[in-house]
């Protein structure tokens, strides 16, 4: 060895016990789907089948909602708030205790690197339960009136990009505010939600307070349209979000929607360039770019474009792609064949429309779903890759000449979830942030999350906020 090659340092898959088959979790127990239909979930890094999963149809959804309703009326709504808090604290502690198991399972089922599940997803998920556990008996002081009430049964549908973290974002505030839950994880990543169901059993959570049903879009549609659901919370694509909004229009149901994004990451000439490059890499290649708030549009001030791009390319040469279970892997597998083909399709449109593609020299594994980290330069506002959410490791680079032009370009999108500002000048950061139409704006950093900080979108990026005091309002009928 004459170079510093990092020898493989894989985490052990044996840390988690994956069953060959999983049922639906309702009324505190795992049961088979009524019609007995199943589907499989695979490891996207190897295409190996991990487990057979029960497929919930209308009859199963009805049972799950009934289970949640019963738990709400008979147990959860009558329980003193401090007792609810105790359950949440208990769940949070169990998540920390079993964090390694969760991290391994998430990586196997999702394809994201173990470093991310270990250092980001699972610790943040536990933090969300801790944070909301503290709110359970303090809701009178949350700014939603003296005696805010829960809605009742919350139908929650979560995506595949952060399965466990999105589960925490949904379930923790719902339970803290006194709602009961029917949650449907994404069909490609159901395993950590099912392990979470075991955690609910371990914590002694009363039966029916949390119900986990597995299936596809049809299952989700049955859930959203169920007449006894009071509240819908959805994270996923803007297309599905719109369909949900239509479906619940005219009903008593309220909704929180966290949808797509096309975040602008704005680098001014006076930025700390090396750290900005880190932020750009983190903004688009974190989690293979499967991030709704990804900084997928890079806006560089034209006079520092060459320097930034040279450093960015050098940095991209260091990205380690491969086995997600290896502790040194930076970029893991694309979650599914369908998503891979969507990324390919959109990236190819970049070639066709005349943008310049660049990727580092890297060998992609032969099995599984992979896409090399890619940047497109010479992108203009009218290109599809500048307008549509790619949801993959593909960055579109645009330039601007003046701060106002940066704002105009950044806001020229139907989305408005996130944005980043890179400048060493405080006044410029504030000037820019004030004018950006996005729910979260990071200054000199990117993709930072905290349970105390509300998250959500402008425009087609969503309705409502999750996290923080603001996020509670999505699960409370306030008295104002």
């Amino acid at each position: 060895m004459n170079k510093f090659e990092y020898a493989p340092a894989p985490e052990s898959a044996a840390l988690v016990d994956i069953k060959s088959q999983y049922g639906l979790f309702m009324n505190g127990k795992f049961i088979a789907a009524k019609a007995g239909k199943t589907f499989t979930t695979i490891n996207p890094a190897t295409e190996e089948v991990l487990a057979k999963i029960a497929y919930a149809e209308l009859a199963d959804v009805n049972l799950a909602v009934t289970s949640a309703r019963n738990a709400f009326t008979k147990v959860w709504s009558k329980m003193p708030p401090a007792e609810r808090g105790k359950y949440l604290f208990r769940i949070a502690r169990i998540l920390q205790e079993r964090s390694r198991e969760f991290a391994v399972l998430e990586t196997l089922d999702n394809g994201k690197p173990i470093r991310e599940t270990r250092d980001t997803d699972i610790p943040l998920a536990a933090a969300h339960f801790f944070y909301h556990a503290g709110w359970a008996d303090k809701l009178s002081y949350a700014g939603h009136g003296a005696n805010p009430k829960p809605y009742g049964v919350a139908a929650q549908i979560i995506p595949w990009n952060f399965p466990m973290l999105m589960l925490a974002w949904k379930i923790a505030p719902a339970l803290a505010t006194g709602n009961t839950v029917v949650l449907k994880p994404a069909e490609t990543t159901p395993l950590t939600a099912l392990l979470f169901a075991e955690v609910c059993q371990q914590a002694g959570l009363p039966a029916g307070v949390v119900n986990i049903i597995t299936g596809d879009g049809a299952t989700g549609s049955h859930l959203v349209n169920h007449p006894d659901v009071d509240k819908v919370a959805f994270t996923g694509s803007t297309g599905v979000g719109k369909a949900i909004a239509k479906a619940i229009a005219g009903t008593k149901k309220s909704a929180t929607l966290e949808l797509g994004g096309k975040g602008a990451n704005i680098v001014f000439e006076d930025a700390a360039i090396d750290e900005a490059v880190e932020g750009i890499v983190n903004g688009i290649f974190f989690n293979q770019g499967h991030v709704c708030c990804a900084g997928s549009r890079l806006l560089i001030q034209e006079n520092v474009q060459d320097e930034v791009l040279e450093k960015l390319k050098n940095r991209m040469n260091l990205i380690r792609i491969g086995n997600p279970m290896d502790k040194n892997t930076d970029l893991g597998a694309i979650n599914s064949a369908a998503q891979l083909s969507r990324i390919k399709d959109l990236a190819d449109s970049g070639d066709i429309e005349g943008a310049m593609r660049w990727s580092p020299n890297c060998t992609l594994p032969s099995s599984g779903f992979w896409y090399a980290p890619t940047i497109f330069t010479g992108v203009s506002q009218s290109h599809r890759i500048a307008r549509e959410e790619i949801f993959g490791p593909v960055l579109s680079v645009l330039t601007f000449r003046t701060p106002q032009e940066a704002i105009d370009k950044a806001n020229n999108t139907p989305y408005g979830l996130s944005a980043g500002v890179w400048s060493d000048k405080g006044s410029r950061i504030l000037w820019t942030a004030k004018r950006l139409r996005a729910g979260v704006i990071w200054a000199n950093t990117f993709n930072k999350f905290d349970p105390a900080s509300p998250f959500g979108g402008y425009k087609e990026s969503g309705w409502g906020r999750e996290g923080g005091r603001h996020g509670l309002s999505g699960y409370l009928k306030g008295q104002y």
């Binding site: 060895m1 170079k3 510093f4 090659e5 990092y6 020898a7 493989p8 340092a9 470093r115 250092d119 006076d270 930025a271 700390a272 360039i273 090396d274 750290e275 900005a276 880190e278 932020g279 260091l318 502790k327 040194n328 060493d424 000199n444 950093t445």
Partner: protein, 315 residues
């Protein structure tokens, strides 16, 4: 030297050039080094990195209580770190005070370490608070006694007062005394410069003035070689190479006590400056306690279990 492309050595041009440097964001710098600290170095790469780290150690004793006996013992240890295993490489250099240079040189020459350089700390180390005449004489003495590497300190007072020309001229004068054959390491004492922006400026100042190495600390001030500081210095040598085609070395010193710390340093070198810097000619680690921990880890890799500390020699 090519760096004359960047300045004409006047204070005005120096300040103008240093103003062109991008700022450092301390939060981002910490985030980057924290991420790199999670790199998991195992099996064959750990073996390789331990031996490389041993070759990079500037085995150091810089105490008022240093005696000829102590220095000779250190030299013996530097040549054959573990007398029971001669496959272990010798250290990068022996680093001592001015008056111990001759003793160290003789001890190395007589003990099989002819190729190991002696590094001397000079210029009124560690404070640097002396007249230029004294600093020059200090350096000349050390070289005359056999030092082939000089670890000088910059005048931090002058740097903080904005007298960058003075700092520059001092480094330049000492480099002239060193000439081509004696390697000059310029100690920035980053614990006294405090901000990462200052570290970046001082790094460029030292490189422009002709330093062959930039070194974090004297070891007498805490904090010493923190990861963000080393990160900024490694970026500086990488970018300076782009500008001038000259590769400058980096030497963190102070606070690197165990193998894990050393591995983290090597990962920084690999991923920030680049693999070209993974060589004792371009990266050294100033340390004393580190060597024994490297030896113990090496034994553990070889034997599969941790030995008692009594299986490595004290000095």
């Amino acid at each position: 030297m090519n760096s004359t492309l960047l300045t004409d050595n006047s204070e005005a041009s120096l300040k103008k050039f240093l103003k062109t440097l991008a700022p450092v964001d301390a939060v981002g710098a910490s985030a980057r080094v924290e991420m790199l600290a999670t790199r998991s170095i195992k099996t064959s790469s750990k073996n390789w990195a331990i031996d490389l780290a041993i070759r990079m150690v500037d085995l150091t004793t810089l105490e008022g209580a240093d005696t000829p006996g102590k220095v000779k013992a250190l030299c013996a240890k530097g040549v054959y770190p573990d007398p029971t295993d001669l496959s272990i490489p010798s250290v990068g250099a022996i680093c001592v005070y001015n008056d111990m240079v001759k003793i160290a040189r003789e001890a190395l020459d007589n003990g099989g370490g002819k190729n190991i350089p002696v590094a001397a700390v000079t210029t009124a180390f560690p404070s640097g608070r002396a007249s230029m005449e004294v600093k020059i004489q200090d350096t000349k003495d050390a070289i005359a006694n056999g030092a082939s590497e000089i670890d000088m300190v910059i005048d931090r007072g002058a740097f903080l007062a904005g007298n960058l020309g003075l700092v520059f001229d001092e480094i330049k004068a000492i480099k002239e005394i060193c000439g081509k054959d004696v390697h000059l390491k310029v100690i920035l004492e980053t614990g006294e410069l405090v901000t990462l922006d200052n570290v970046r400026k001082a790094s460029y100042l030292a490189m422009l003035a002709g330093g062959d190495f930039i070194k974090t600390s004297t070891g007498k001030i805490a904090p010493a070689a923190t990861a963000p500081v080393v990160y900024v210095m490694l970026e500086a040598v990488r970018d300076f190479y782009k500008l001038t085609g000259v590769r400058i070395g980096v030497k963190p010193a102070g606070g690197i006590r165990n193998t894990k710390d050393a591995m983290k340093q090597l990962v920084l070198v690999n991923e920030i400056a680049g693999p070209e810097w993974l060589d004792p000619s371009l990266f050294r680690i100033g340390a004393s306690a580190l060597l024994n921990d490297l030896l113990m880890q090496r034994m553990k890799m070889r034997d599969g279990y941790y030995a008692s500390p009594n299986y490595v020699t004290l000095d």
